[in-house]
Amino acid sequence: MVSPRTPPTTPPAAATIRDAIARHAGADKVPTRFKIIADTSDFFRVDYNDVVVLGERTFWIKGYEKEGRFGLDDEPKYWVRRAVDLTSGATTILKLVFHERFETRIGEVVITCFRSPKKEARILDLVAAHPNFMHGSWTQDAAGNIVRILEYISGLRYDEIITTYGADHEEYFHRFFPGVLTDYIELVQAIKFLHDHGEKHGDIRRDHILRDSERQVNRWIDFDYTYQHGESMFGFDLQGLGNILIFLVGRGDVLVPDLYRDQRQVFDTLWGEDLNISYKNRVANLKKVFPYIPDSLNRVLLHFSRGAELYYETTDQMLDDLATAQAALALHTGRGA
């Protein structure tokens, strides 16, 4: 259970808020009308230019963030609002309470997922000093909702950065991938940190890694999801890590229809067992497409293929194999970690 926070006090007067906005944004930016909201239970009520009061702190609401999940790109997330902290002037992200329970499907597997503000608050406390996670604090609004106040991260999605590396895959793999693998291992170690503390990330996807341009470090974001696990508590997280690794090694998703269209001779060598266990249209056995991939690295990928007989149960098992692959890659490319 997360620890209690100081209950909110009486909201400041509108005039005080106008002064604060003028101080941070300029007098001409002060809105003529806005609501002062202390109870965020109905997050649809929180409009652009409104002010949310959380204890002693006030936040001037700007736009909302967007969802990139399940093909719902640009779907607005009305409970995740960009805001200006009127005490410090810093841009922050406010995540309001949205309890959601839904089923997602990875291939033929149905997974029951939950969105949990409590979980994210607990993990924010846990990773406060860890460089590979988003940082922030949390508090309760006037109605007791757990609101997370996240530091804004300047930077791009990591997956969008790496796909710009190299003129083609071969150049990418030999020149850039050793560094990418080092980055990836650091990210897996961060997930191990969560698992070692009994926590799941819950929503490991490649668009949940941001490259912080100020700190020059990759950071996991969005850990309010959790899922109902079976025998393997961390299996879904590991599946996400595997899909990201396949993407990074392939410099993007290597899709079966693309191979059929553009590289028929490679397509003809593929078997069902070579495909991604979660996504049947993606190739996991990338050595068949890029023969210069070392065996030790490809063996890690094969753990996430339909032909896999053995699965990773822990990040430790995966990290051991990645260390072997990294050493082989250094020999192969002449580029160390």
């Binding site: 259970m1 309890h99 990875i106 291939g107 033929e108 597997v109 997974i111 939950f114 949990s116 409590k118 979980k119 009994g198 959790t226 109902q228 696990h229 079976g230 025998e231 393997s232 508590m233 299996g235 879904f236 599946q239 266990i277 979660s278 339909r306 896999a308 699965y311 149960e313």
Partner: protein, 162 residues
């Protein structure tokens, strides 16, 4: 007639004591029916019916009251299933003193590991589990309790009923 009871752990190494891991599924019912068919009428066999209810995280519920209700409902479902399983075993001649049921609610990251912990405590000579016949990808994401038990069992037999 055998007068041994469940209270005497010192005799566990020499008696025929089965630990049967069940839930409310049709698969578990089939497992109990199989055991009834196989061991019915034998006076020196003891059967512990075990179910593990993993204590759900607070993350899955908006309130503590919802979590408590879920646990209460889950326990009620399992109590009903256990009563059904006991009736199946009694119907083939096993006596009250030969069948015990245990419903364990506990935090656990692995149901298989929790079952094996119970085996260590009770020193049963056979662990019995059903197998759902899950798909390759389902096992990949969720893992398999029966596989966990098969891989980690030491010094006792494992019976997997499909």
């Amino acid at each position: 007639m055998n007068t041994q009871t469940f209270g005497d752990l010192s005799r566990r190494d020499v008696e025929r004591h089965l630990l049967v891991a069940v839930d409310e599924s049709e698969n578990s019912r089939r497992t109990v029916l199989y055991l009834a068919d196989f061991f019915g009428g034998l006076a020196d066999v003891f059967i512990t019916l075990l179910t593990i209810i993993p204590e759900p995280s607070e993350d899955f519920f908006p309130t503590e009251a919802a979590r408590v209700k879920w646990l209460h409902d889950r326990r009620a479902v399992m109590e009903q299933a256990m009563a059904d399983y006991r009736d199946i075993l009694f119907a083939v001649g096993l006596r009250e003193g030969q069948v015990e049921s245990r419903i364990i609610i506990r935090p656990c990251t692995s149901i298989g590991a929790a079952i094996l912990e119970e085996q260590e405590k009770l020193r049963c000579c056979i662990v019995v589990v059903g197998r759902r016949g899950i798909s390759h990808s389902e096992e990949f994401v969720f893992g398999s309790t029966s596989n966990h038990i098969l891989h980690h069992a030491r010094n006792y037999a494992v019976l997997v009923v499909e």
